[in-house]
Amino acid sequence: MLFRYISKRIVELIPILLVISILVFLFVHFIPGNPARLVAGKQATFKEVQLVAEELGLNEPIWKQYVSYMKGLFQGDFGTSLKTGRPVSEVIASRFMPTFWLTISSMAWSLVVGLLIGVVSATNRNKWQDFSGMFGAVSGISMPSFWLGLLLIQLFSVQLGWLPVGGNDSWQSYILPSITLGTTVAAVIARFTRSSLMDTLKDDFVRTGRAKGLSENKVVWGHALRNAMVPIVTMSGLQFGFLLGGSIVVEVVFSWPGLGSLLIDSISFRDYPVIQAELLLFALEFMLINLVVDLLYGVLNPRINLD
């Protein structure tokens, strides 16, 4: 049953991915730019640029380029990076893990903190806990992240000397980027938890629980929160997907070798195959996360029917 559901959902993804691949391909080639000139370089002659364009197949009509791109894709070949000449799959693979671990470390703390703030705020509505919790959360989404990141570097790396500025080789180097990245997520989750929990705290079953003499903690954490989880899980999934795409700004500030810094690099170089592969990867990740979120709904709330 579950297996059938999952395979059905995955089969459904294929046409959507196909459509996305066309859109992505058109979108990427629609960006004005001349990759041949960029590959050949500032000091190259015109003839060299022409040769490069020829070699990269950029002189072909666009539909031909798409067909040959798709042909490669079906054989698992994502093409070759125009900028470095390396296979795109290799380029992406080497950049995926740093972003993945940064995502995990950011999500981990921000989920815990976000949920805590949300629950405390919801159960102490209009008290100082609510006020300071929400104030903290909203502050987290009110600062441009590049500024926050640069300030954190100045404070914790330069002035205090506690944490490294860049690199991703030690656990310490994860701290500043995941604070910068997770602040937004924690804030979003805190606000969602608060409002969702406030909704469910009004529901009948909560009143019943209270009437039955269950402790307030048990009512909140055991019953109400479980029922409030559905929107929270959706939101968290969405955030997870976004983070997995790599935060361009944060990765640039912390010179993190992830997908975000790769993307901005590839866009300014018009490295079509890399941009395409990254966009397709985002779309796929996003849809898979949606699927996982839907499955979690079933776990959290058996009343929701998967079909």
């Binding site: 929400m134 104030f135 700004v249 985002f282």
Partner: protein
Amino acid sequence: MSETKLTAQSEYNNDVVEKRKTTLWLDFWRKFRKQKTAVVSGLFIVMLLIVAIIGPYLAPYGPAEPDYGSILKGPSAAHLAGTDAYGRDIFSRIIVGSRISLLISISSVFLGAAIGSILGLISGYYGRWLDSLIMRGCDVLFSFPGMLLAIGIIAILGPGLTNVVIAIAIFTVPTFARIVRSGTLSAKGSVFVEAARSIGATNKRMIWKHIFPETVSSIIVYFTMRIGNAILVAASLGFLGLGAKPPTPEWGAMLSMGRDYISTHPHITFFPGLAIFLTVLAFNLLGDGLRDALDPKIKN
């Protein structure tokens, strides 16, 4: 006979709508007043709007007026927020820039909200293939981070304020489409709307008279909240060199152009950063307050 009955009924109906509206307003105001944070934020935003309108008359200096004799000066009586790399008065630039920053954020979210709401109404009301088409389109837009879409769009259209507005508007569309669609679906099922349908209201009338008003509260809430986000996205675009063109005193551009001075002359980034922070904070807190006041599910 049947005709008179119909008229009577629809008059009755209008009456109900009117009454409902007034009570809703009163109810809202009663609840909103209690949200002190939101009230303060609201007042701050009103003040900001006033500054944005009369800003150029308030500013002690021209926002693009260089003075190479006094570059990078810290805050003083002559320059309340100090001067930047060209000796321009930062305080004046922030005041004049408030118009630009607010204009970018409000117009982009407005554009996105308008398109998104219409799509959401159509999608929720007509259902079937239109619904699937619009929702799948939203899925596609949703599956890319907003920043990324903005970068792509600006790469295509070129930098500049108008294009920043378009870029932010486009990735705002799916959020509103989804919210309005779900509002529409629940409104469609309500007794009140079914009654209107039973007396033969046209689709157009149904949508604008009966369904749209039901979704307005959530539109307002999200509208307020997205404005803060739009300001931040504009700032991040500035960081990547894709924002407002110099010498426009847009706050995000001021922040990102000044970031090389972050350790030597912190005042250059501090004041525009503070302006962004307070404005985004105010919009978000106002949004929170509006949601608490407008959401019928949360009673006091």
